[in-house]
């Protein structure tokens, strides 16, 4: 009995100490929690420097979200739907922003942050919903066409001029090489489909703000069929390698680095990644704007990135927006690009000499971001994206005469609540 009593006393002492400890760390400075997507530590660094710059006005703590965008969305949506007050600042993947903005889960952006001068067009579009800025662009991502100079040279391809998918496919066929694209049943497949449809002058969703019953898709068009033709050809001719049906961005990078590598569409993270994993390849590496579908129409490269939103149920929305203002400073964006490889949304950051030195393709990225077309913006993005993935996977089975139609019928039925996804 005495031992029991002693244990209880010991435990209470520990509990008391813990509470006191928490109190002393509190020191009256409000703590803002920033939910970040996993990166190489750059967001935590910015959080620390902004905490310091705030001079005791607030403290930013980071909290890690799951690795992939879909799981990040699941967690945030669930917690916001439950009015979670701990969600102060959130790093948000653009396609899911309308879904969170529509039910009022995001606090309104204050006037001080409404100014979008100097922010790349793709990022501003992705940060808005119903014509209003609902989040603040932080960094902006885009895919480039990466190529092996030796392959392009052997084919006599002038890479200073825009190239088309047809040209790339032809070169890969002639030289028995493989093309790095993302064919896995994942968001990356939607990214590819959207870029192809948009590059062909079409759009997946005709009227983004329509209610689910009235939505119309733009897949059964020449643009949709052109996209299906490209994916189907790369798939059925084996040009994406046997790993294509399960290839994500990393897998296509590995393919590109291998002996059969030729061309690849991918995000700029591959630059630092290839530098460290395979320095030899850098001498043979070239980059250009995303390939065109139609030789006469400029490409519409994929755009992504991260925008910052503030939770509507946060207890410190004003402070949170002040912190966001600090986080998105061009210096921070430039620093983040240099250390983590994620391109800035603010054009001023591209002029930073360190950025220019470390990312020789920085100007191509900026050009690509201005051309970029965001994915369909709608609160039902998830249904559309997964519906596309289901019907356009595996790439070997994509057929321009059938896929756009089955895809349209399926997605519309899901949106009307008549089919499971």
């Amino acid at each position: 009995m005495r031992t029991l009593r002693r244990t209880v006393a010991g435990l209470s002492a520990v509990a008391l100490a813990a509470t006191l400890g928490a109190c002393s760390a509190d020191d009256g400075v409000p703590t803002l929690t920033w939910y970040i997507n996993p990166d190489d530590g750059g967001q935590a660094e910015i959080a620390a420097s902004c905490t310091e710059a705030a001079n005791g006005a607030y403290r930013i703590e980071t909290s890690l979200l799951p690795r992939d965008a879909a799981s990040q969305r699941e967690q945030l949506a669930r917690r916001l739907a439950a009015s979670d007050r701990s969600l102060d600042i959130m790093s948000l993947d653009p396609p899911f922003i309308p879904e969170l903005a529509e039910p009022g889960f995001l606090a309104p952006v204050p006037d001080t942050l409404q100014d979008t001068d100097g922010i790349v067009q793709g990022a501003v579009q992705s940060a808005s919903w119903n014509g209003e800025l609902v989040t603040v662009p932080f960094w902006a991502n885009t895919q480039l066409l990466w190529y092996r100079e030796s392959v392009a040279e052997a084919a006599g391809l002038d890479m200073s001029q825009p190239v088309t998918w047809d040209q790339i496919i032809e070169v890969a066929e002639d030289q028995d090489k493989q093309i790095g694209v993302q064919g896995a049943l994942a968001e990356s497949l939607t990214v590819w489909i959207n870029a192809l449809v948009a590059s062909a002058g079409g759009q997946i969703l005709e009227d983004p703000e329509a209610s689910p019953d009235e939505m119309q898709l733009g897949l059964e068009t020449d643009a949709g069929r052109a996209a299906a033709d490209i994916i189907g050809r790369i798939g059925s001719e084996g040009l994406g390698g046997s790993g294509l049906p399960t290839a994500d961005e990393n897998a296509s990078m590995n393919l590109f680095q291998g002996d059969s590598g030729s061309f690849m569409v991918n995000w700029p993270f591959v630059w630092p990644a290839m530098q460290s994993s395979d320095p030899e390849i850098i001498d043979d590496l070239g980059w250009a704007v995303y390939p065109r579908v139609d030789a006469a129409t400029p490409a519409a490269p994929p755009v992504g990135g991260i925008n910052l939103g503030v939770g509507a149920y946060s207890e410190n929305t004003d402070l949170a927006w002040r912190a966001v203002e600090c986080i998105v400073q061009p210096e921070n964006q430039a620093q983040y690009f240099v250390t983590n490889g994620n391109p800035p949304s603010n054009t001023a950051a591209y002029d930073d000499p360190q950025v220019q030195e470390q990312f020789p393709m920085a100007d191509t990225i900026r050009e690509s971001l201005d051309l970029g077309a965001p994915r369909p913006q709608t609160p039902y993005y998830n249904e559309i994206s997964i519906g596309l993935q289901r019907t356009w996977h595996p790439p070997t089975a994509v057929n321009p005469d059938a896929t756009p139609e089955t895809s349209t019928d399926f997605i519309l039925a899901v949106l009307r609540g008549e089919r499971l996804l």
């Binding site: 699941e74 790993g243 049906p245 249904e383 997964i386 595996p394 609540g417 499971l420 996804l421």
Partner: protein
């Protein structure tokens, strides 16, 4: 897991217990009543907590399944009676999921039963010195978290991350070293089933081992003296005497296999028509945030599990409390 342990325990305990069901009903004595009261006091809190954590969510899911309810559109909530069930049962995707789930269940349970029985015999018959070692070695996979084993199998077979299985199998005539296991339904299912069997065979063999221990040794000896071959001893003496253990093992594993989630989630995420029912429920409730539709799928999954348990208990007359065929 608790249920599994309880089942193993029940099998052992029943041998020394009088068969209460056959005793004629009598007025209970004061002492019996006091014992019953003590029993309730001891088990009551646990029983209450069980109700709270299982019954409440089940009732909530039943209720939610009658609504059109999307988590990100709470204001559009609408009572729609059984329309969710109508959509689900009328959708080929649901029946496709049901088919895949049943296929995985039947194949894994059959394979596990055969391999598990072999393991149980080894553990039962192994020389005393080796018995402890054999048991530990066989039980190791069961101690590994399913997600971990799913990743291990995934990386072993995935050609994009340098899986080694293809180069191991390169000597097999007609085997294509570039085979992408996760690009078609059949090959994906092979890996999923393989991982599932590797992971849970020890559970079946553990239950079968306790069944083997129940077979009276003198019966076996008598059969041998009468000139029965080992095959006849196995078929006529050992198997009939451990039928109850086999049925309990099969019942538990069937129910568990029917709810398969982790392996598929990690390996294919439902690609190539490998989406099992629980993954469909997850994708609808958690992925699409369609709480109404997802709850309806969960309810159907729950009903399927009840039906399977019912078939076993009524159809095959498995008496869980007696651990013996009635």
């Amino acid at each position: 897991m608790t249920a599994e342990i309880a089942a193993t325990g029940a099998l052992r305990a029943d041998r020394d217990r009088p068969d209460t069901a056959t005793r004629p009903k009598k007025r209970r004595s004061d002492r019996a009543r006091a014992e019953a009261r003590l029993g309730w006091m001891l088990a009551g809190p646990a029983f209450g907590i069980m109700l709270l954590v299982t019954l409440y969510p089940i009732v909530q899911a039943l209720w939610d399944s009658l609504f059109s309810l999307r988590l990100t559109a709470p204001d559009d909530r609408e009572f729609i009676w059984f329309r969710n069930y109508q959509v689900i049962l009328g959708d080929p995707a649901f029946w496709q999921s049901m088919g895949v789930t049943l296929f995985i269940t039947v194949v894994t349970v059959l394979l596990e039963l055969i391999i598990g029985f072999a393991f149980a015999l080894v553990m039962h018959r192994a020389i005393k010195k080796l018995r402890g070692f054999a048991r530990t070695a066989i039980l190791v996979p069961y101690g590994i978290i399913t997600v971990v084993s799913a990743f291990a199998f995934f990386y072993a077979f995935d050609i994009n991350s340098g899986g080694y299985v293809n180069s191991w199998l390169s000597w097999v005539p007609g085997f294509d070293e570039d085979l992408n296991w996760f690009a078609s339904q059949s090959t994906s299912l092979v890996v999923i089933i393989l991982s599932e069997v590797w992971k849970t065979t020890p559970f079946i063999s553990l239950l079968l081992l306790s069944g083997l221990a129940q077979v009276p040794g003198d019966l076996e000896e008598a059969a041998k003296v009468d000139g029965a071959t080992s095959w006849e001893v196995l078929r006529r003496v050992i198997l009939p005497n451990m039928k109850a253990a086999i049925m309990v093992a099969v019942l538990f594993r069937t129910l568990e296999a029917f709810r398969i989630f982790d392996n598929i989630f990690i390996m294919t995420a439902g690609a190539n028509d490998t989406e099992a029912l629980s993954l469909l429920a997850y994708n609808t409730s958690i992925g699409r945030l369609e709480i109404g539709l997802g709850s309806a799928i969960s309810v159907l999954l729950f009903l399927s599990v009840l039906i399977i348990a019912g078939i076993f208990i009524k159809g095959f007359k498995v008496d869980l409390s007696a651990g013996r065929n009635s």
